[in-house]
Symmetry: C2
Subunit: 593 residues, 2 copies
């Protein structure tokens, strides 16, 4: 779980602890040996990780247990869950305020930053999502005021705390998410993991409410069509008294259009906080920390045009689907068929785009970027992990189509659609991962002659290494660890400039392929833009109500109502997350190629 | 997912590819630069990992989709699933035979081995489990012969192929599981991941059959008590014709006592194969590869005695529980109460043992072992990951107990039991992880002055490093990569002996604490033995039918029948795996302390 951040991250860390205890009067050799012996004890680090990780997991599981109980038992009510979540948010608030105060006091000591942790545009996007969440909180407060006389006070307290939590958290994200914490490690670890799992729990809660809303809609639709007589779930039913204002139903209806944004906000924040947690006690390699990515937009025509077409088409399909799905049996079926045919066209073009990108990579050999980057690694894991949801759904559809007894008009289009979903995620993941792990081609990229992580050797040997990273500076002149940020940056920039002379062998190779590369890069940028917009389209469809998996009846017939609903409740939120996450990753790809 | 194995593993790899293309006549500098440029392209490696990982995941998901369909739809039958699994096993068989043939031909070329990948006693244990699996196959064949006239031929083919698969796989485990594959990488990756997921699918299949068997038992028990009128699942119902031999019912009854072993066999094999997959293309650091662990058993009294007591008590409790649970309401309840009280005693003593171990570690400071070891990392991840199942179950129980309307006699013992389950896994995980990540204390442990991964620097610099690991040898004298194993081992042993002179500072520190350490180590060994036996006990109980979560009715009342059954079907197999896996990890701890 944690090994990969072990080796190089302990070095500075060890140093930091020891700088207070060892006096500079002792001679060098003894001091170094002592350092290694007494403070290679970073095992509070390993312990801290397991301790805090397990704490967070149990927090989430308790929340999930309460959610599951709400569905089945009248004695466990939504208020209890909200009270629990509210108390977690208050705890997180206190921790964040404490953290910000402490950092504010230590303004003049240098805090290391992990540049990879997040980018401006991700934080911008999150701020937008946070604003939508705040609107949602306002609606919730309005709803509470309307029904004040007959609902629990928790329903009023929750949105107020949630709004405060959102504002503070966005502030935290802007100014502290890149911090690499080196002091109070175990305590900070608990604080950060608490924040991670509080957001995950808020995500789960949002997902549950959303799923229930869709399920209730689906049931009432079936009920209207006279199919089945299912009981509507009680959780989001109307309170017992009348609304004192005129806007209650408006509020409760609008809420469900804001849910998708709120849900994505929380899962994204928890991923970013998780990177912060992984970074605690880590040592940042300044050489890989110094990349500037410029977003160039020359030669971008085909990708954006096709992407806009896809977006426009999606909105058209969505409107037609939602209006037609509640109509007669014939219209219902043709709406589903239309959805699948549209999906096949979209996915096929996305597959081709991804494959084209991979082909270009095969032609254009480039060394991999092996620098340490927990953020990128997490991105890869989340991408592959969240694919599982929609893959499971697709394979279930395939089994259902092949084994079905009935023969609706969309049977075989469903099969092709499902196969393409599997294939599209397969190629897209490959494309994204390969793009993120290739070395960049612009002038700013590091010299390939430079080792990716020089500090590992430089600390353990007594040779003076030619690349003078931050650790070596600290190692050699302990007093300089508290120099100001500007000095340190200038120094290391200067140091890194020295070995960056063009090598005799690599230059001709790069010059030779310079011309065709530009065309390739343009194609890659177009592919990235097209994939971004297609993924947004495929996010919009399920997020705002196009879920043919509920409506087509094929899978339900094969798996039974409760199994299929469980599968969907697991798979659809993961798929939504996958789409938004791949948009973020593809934007990163767009900036890199 | 894969980053941590990136840096140091590409080095040899790069080298290997290039040795064919570059002629030795060119002068050194140019060759090295070319090496780095053209072959730091290990990105087929990254690609190969994602490609094969996604292939395996989809294989598993298709299988899971079929399993889910079997439960709900009469048109998808168990035969279809078995046919699918059989074809996967045949594919794996072909691959394993191909692999063994190729290795056999290359006998005189040296294959690197990862000593950490597995130990003799793990392979021994697996062989035992495999033998029990073979008996199971024999029973299945006997069952098929009895019902030959009316069941599908797949039911006869499956056990035959499974037996062949088991025998070949055990042979593979004994002779090839430690191989670090350096040739045909992408193809081998597909082969190994296919094997991993075939075993995972076989595990899932076993778990499903087992869960269904328990559920059917539970339902028929409820039916006999007149509680509910539930339909018994059709999957393992008797065939339509009469058995032609007299042993059919014996076979089908015995099968379910062998399932637990078969299930553990497959999950363990897939974990080991996964480590092999992670090792593909890796470079082994010989310094950390040279540890010999001796299993000393002096001073072992308290642990084994307490452990044997726990085991004996467990078997007693199991017999009483199974006989009493089908009796009258009163006896039923008292059996459940007895189970919980026994569980509380067990878990409390396990918690204390784990905490004592952690306290000893706090007193006895020891530097962490940061050497690279994918096997250990996987162990840690699996341990924490598989805890989630039983934690979820416990939190659900806690929510159910707190919110329950009824008040059975075991209500509050259930609460304490569930809290202790959470706490016990928490401390045990901490204890195991810390034990595995501490440096060993015997004479064989590496010198702390030696860097953990010297090859990273040694390849990227042109300095001749003092420690001559395998990579450097290859780097300097390319022709020597094909020297025989014995030579290489002797050589590096000799080389490693050189810098291992006692340092002036570390020795007195270690001598000073030598005496009390021995007592501490004895205590730690006793703790490990006690925990091993306790974990075996806690594996036996649910594996052979003591599952009060089905019988106590409290949780079912809160969560509803279908939700609670789903939770148990997810959590119990994970918990069983956790127990067996922690036994293996604790045995490793026992040998290390």
């Amino acid at each position: 779980m944690v090994e990969h951040s072990g080796l190089d991250s302990q070095c500075l860390n060890k140093y930091c602890h020891s700088s207070s205890s060892s006096s500079s009067s002792e001679h060098d050799k003894k001091m170094f040996a002592k350092l290694k012996l007494s403070l290679s004890g970073d095992y509070p680090r390993k312990n801290g990780e397991i301790l805090s990780g397990q704490y967070g997991t149990n927090l989430l599981l308790l929340g999930v247990a309460m959610m599951l109980a709400i569905q089945g038992d009248p004695s466990v009510r939504e208020e209890h869950l909200l009270a629990f979540v509210t108390s977690l948010m208050i705890l997180q608030l206190i921790w964040m305020l404490w953290y910000m105060l402490v950092r504010d006091r230590q303004k003049n000591t240098r805090t290391e930053k992990d540049v990879h942790a997040t980018t401006c545009w991700i934080r911008g996007g999150l701020t937008l999502l946070a604003v939508l969440s705040l609107i949602m909180d306002a609606f919730r407060i309005g709803y509470y005021i309307g029904y004040q006389s007959c609902v629990s006070a928790v329903l009023g307290v929750y949105p107020v705390i949630h709004a405060t939590h959102t504002i503070t958290q966005v502030h935290f994200l802007w100014f502290h998410i890149k911090d690499v914490i080196q002091s109070f490690e175990t305590f900070e670890r608990f604080g950060v993991i608490h924040a991670v799992f509080t957001n995950l729990l808020l995500w789960c809660n949002g997902v549950m409410s959303e799923a229930e809303h869709f399920l209730n809609n689906h049931k009432s639709r079936l009920f209207a069509l006279g199919y089945e007589n299912l009981t509507i779930s009680k959780v989001h039913s109307e309170p017992d008294c009348n609304c004192t204002t005129s806007t209650c139903s408006l509020f409760s209806r609008s809420l469900f259009y804001l849910y998708p944004f709120n849900v994505e906000y929380h899962i994204f924040v928890s991923a970013m906080l998780f990177v912060m947690w992984k970074n605690i006690g880590r040592t940042i390699d300044l050489s890989s920390n110094r990349k500037r990515l410029a977003t160039k937009i020359q030669g971008l025509h085909v990708g954006p045009i096709l992407g806009l077409l896809a977006l426009a088409g999606t909105i058209g399909v969505m409107v037609v689907y939602i209006t037609n799905i509640e109509e007669s049996f014939q219209t219902h079926n043709s709406a589903i068929s239309m959805f699948y045919i549209y999906g096949i066209a979209m996915l096929a073009s996305m597959c081709s785009a991804g494959s084209l990108g991979l082909l270009i990579y095969r032609v254009d050999h480039m060394p991999p970027d092996t620098s340490k980057n927990p953020s990128r690694q997490l991105d890869t894991e989340l991408l592959c992990g969240s694919s599982i949801g929609s893959w499971l759904m697709s394979w279930c559809s395939i089994v259902a189509v092949v084994g079905a007894n009935s023969n609706p008009p969309f049977r075989w289009t469903n099969l092709i659609y499902s196969l393409l979903v599997v294939l599209e995620k397969y190629t897209q993941n490959l494309f994204i991962v390969e793009s993120l792990y290739r070395q960049q081609e612009d002038g700013e990229r590091e010299d390939p002659e430079l080792p990716a992580a020089p500090e590992i050797f430089s600390v353990t040997s007594s040779l003076a290494p030619p690349y003078n990273g931050i650790i070596n500076q600290a190692y050699e002149t302990p007093d300089r660890i508290c120099v100001s940020l500007e000095n340190e940056e200038e120094e290391s920039r200067q140091v890194y400039r020295c070995p960056r002379k063009p090598s005799e062998v690599s230059l001709p190779v790069r010059n030779k392929v310079k011309q065709p590369l530009n065309i390739k890069r343009k194609v890659l940028k177009n592919i990235a833009v097209f994939l971004i917009m297609s993924n947004i389209s495929l996010w919009i469809l399920p997020a705002f109500g196009c879920r043919p998996q509920y409506d087509n009846g094929l899978e339900q017939e094969t798996f039974g109502y409760s199994t299929w609903t469980t599968i969907l409740n697991f798979a659809i939120p993961l798929n939504l997350f996958y789409r938004i996450h791949s948009v973020a990753s593809l934007f990163e790809v767009f900036r890199r190629v």
